[in-house]
């Protein structure tokens, strides 16, 4: 029997720590994907950034609400990553955190609103649209799936599982696309046939969220 359980600060921390772990594990894979169409630093940059997030979280006193934790994590990414992924993921987490405010737990509509805010932040800063072969190709369908499932009354964990599936499909959909943003765009048609590293790390981070929430429930 499913009943509503809010996502709390401990879950958000587990998500960020899980993201750091999987990005560290997949660092070389992400860098290989980036070497093919970019500048071979995506794995290193994301690993460095999320490791710093974990260090930063350890300095917090434990009383911070989920929104505050996400803002801190976002600011840490902006300050440590560089490249394009730092400002983009940093902005995503900061916007999500601000949307959540100071509530101790959140679910349903607030979760959807936080994800929408994250996506809006990324699109606004990076000016990328679906189909441009970027992280938006994973994030946008994930947010759409999440909202649809939550609107239909699905429990949080199930909605997040759908979001992760949509992100995975979005990630795979980048393979035949031609990049029109970032360094990969200089390749023109030669970017076709390669999976986008930003969409890949996005799918990994959403998988970490699914796991963090599933562990809770």
């Amino acid at each position: 029997m499913e009943y509503l359980i809010g996502v709390d600060a401990a879950t958000v921390r587990r998500w960020l720590e899980g993201s750091a772990a999987v990005l560290h594990e997949q660092r070389d894979y992400l860098t290989q994907l980036d070497a093919a169409i970019g500048d071979a630093d995506h794995g290193t940059n994301m690993d460095r950034g999320f490791s710093s997030v974990v260090e930063k979280l350890a300095e917090l006193d434990g009383s911070e609400p989920p929104g505050r934790i996400l803002v801190t994590a976002g600011s840490t990414l902006v300050s440590t990553v560089g490249g394009a992924s730092g400002p983009l993921w940093g902005t995503a987490l900061r916007r999500a955190g601000r949307a959540l405010g100071d509530e101790a737990t959140f679910e349903g509509a607030a979760l959807a609103a936080a994800f929408q805010a994250a996506l809006d932040g990324v699109v606004e800063l990076g000016a990328a649209q679906p189909g441009d072969k970027t992280m938006v190709d994973a994030l946008e369908p994930a947010v759409r799936a999440l909202k649809e499932r939550l609107d239909a009354g699905a429990p949080t964990a199930e909605a997040l599982a759908s979001a992760r599936e949509a992100a995975d499909e979005g990630m795979q959909s980048t393979v035949p696309l031609q990049a029109t943003k970032g360094r990969a765009s200089y390749l023109g048609e030669r970017s076709i046939g390669h999976q986008d590293p930003g969409a890949t790390s996005t799918a990994l981070i959403l998988r970490a969220l699914e796991l963090a929430v599933a562990t809770e429930q």
Partner: protein
């Protein structure tokens, strides 16, 4: 067959220490011109902030030395923010640099058109604004090898950046307001175009292997300063043919007025000796003369590099009276230095 320069054979201690140790060396070699803030990883003009003068801040990934740290000093930049090799610096560095050089007249951010640089400088400008510092940003996007269209991130900022930093720096030194300095900077970008070619790849210390493979008898036309691919790859040809194509690519896009005065900048990408750069300049001068154009000013040397890449770029800037005067103004930095 591999080319000797493509193997990892570098004067380093550890890959992760290269940027900071090189900055420390720059500071140790030129204590009269710059100071190094290692914690914030920035290079600051020795006497910054200069009261009442517009501050000029530039930055980007490392690996392009002497750009930008070597251009900090009188008549050019007030601060430089070097990121990791080929990775944009972070907003914290840019904000620290902006604060360090704000003499009350505002600060100009000079940004090369790469997604990472653009995004990080944008966030830094917002942070500076929160602190009450007036910031203007100018973008350089002069590489004609990239088609400027909806299908790309736009043209890359390359050789024009060096000329812009010199000319805008002179305008600021002469007492120009933030708007005036930004306007001159934008004029330089509008009137300048570049094109680069590579004979070998660079090797980043972190990767330890060549960024791209290129045959011993091949040349990449339109290469970027991070080893980004260009328009196409060809069999290596005589310098005269290579320079003819480079010149045509630039001039067909720049379309200078007939009889225009140009600043001709032949730049080495790090691994090409000066003797070859002058061979290129000689061919360029012939190409310009054949079109009724005159290079009234010139710059030849390694100024915006790509680690040890063998290759060169040509930048042509259509001068006017004021730009010529500002180019001639005194400059005293680690890498560029002349008096009137």
């Amino acid at each position: 067959m591999s080319v000797a320069t493509n193997t990892m054979k570098k004067f380093i201690n550890a890959p992760e220490d290269v940027v900071k140790e090189s900055l420390a060396g720059l500071g140790a070699a030129h204590p009269d011109l710059v100071r190094i803030d290692l914690e914030n990883q920035i290079v600051v003009r020795k006497d910054a902030p200069v009261a009442g003068k517009v501050g000029l801040v530039s930055g980007g990934g490392s690996g392009h030395e002497p750009m930008h740290g070597g251009f900090v000093g009188l008549g050019m930049l007030d601060a430089a923010c070097p990121g990791e090799i080929f990775t944009s610096p972070v907003p914290d560095q840019m904000l620290a640099a902006t604060k360090a050089v704000d003499g009350g007249a505002g600060v100009l951010h000079i940004v090369k058109n790469y997604t990472g640089d653009v995004l990080n400088f944008k966030l830094a400008a917002e942070l500076a604004d929160d602190d009450g510092i007036k910031v203007e940003s100018v973008l350089t996007n002069d590489d004609v090898a990239v088609e400027d269209s909806l299908w790309t991130a736009g043209r890359r900022g390359v050789g024009v950046t060096v000329l812009l930093e010199k000319i805008a720096g002179a305008k600021a030194e002469a007492g120009g307001t933030l708007d005036e300095v930004a306007a001159v900077a934008r004029r330089v970008n509008d009137r300048g175009r570049s094109f680069g070619v590579a004979l070998t790849s660079c090797v980043t210390p972190a990767a330890g292997t060549p960024t791209f493979e290129i045959g011993a008898d091949e040349i990449e036309f339109g290469v970027g300063i991070h080893g980004e691919p260009g328009r196409r790859r060809e069999r290596l040809a005589p310098a005269s043919e290579i320079v003819a194509e480079m010149t045509e690519a630039i001039l067909s896009d720049l379309a200078p007025a007939s009889g225009a005065n140009l600043l001709a900048f032949v730049n080495g990408l790090g691994g090409t000796p000066l003797i070859e750069l002058y061979v290129i300049y000689n061919e360029l001068a012939k190409q310009l003369a054949a079109r009724g154009l005159t290079a009234t000013r010139s710059l030849v040397g390694n100024y915006i590099t790509s680690l040890e890449m063998a290759g060169a770029s040509i930048t042509l800037l259509e001068l006017d009276g004021e730009l010529t005067e500002l180019w001639d103004a005194p400059v005293h930095t680690p890498a560029l230095r002349w008096s009137t």
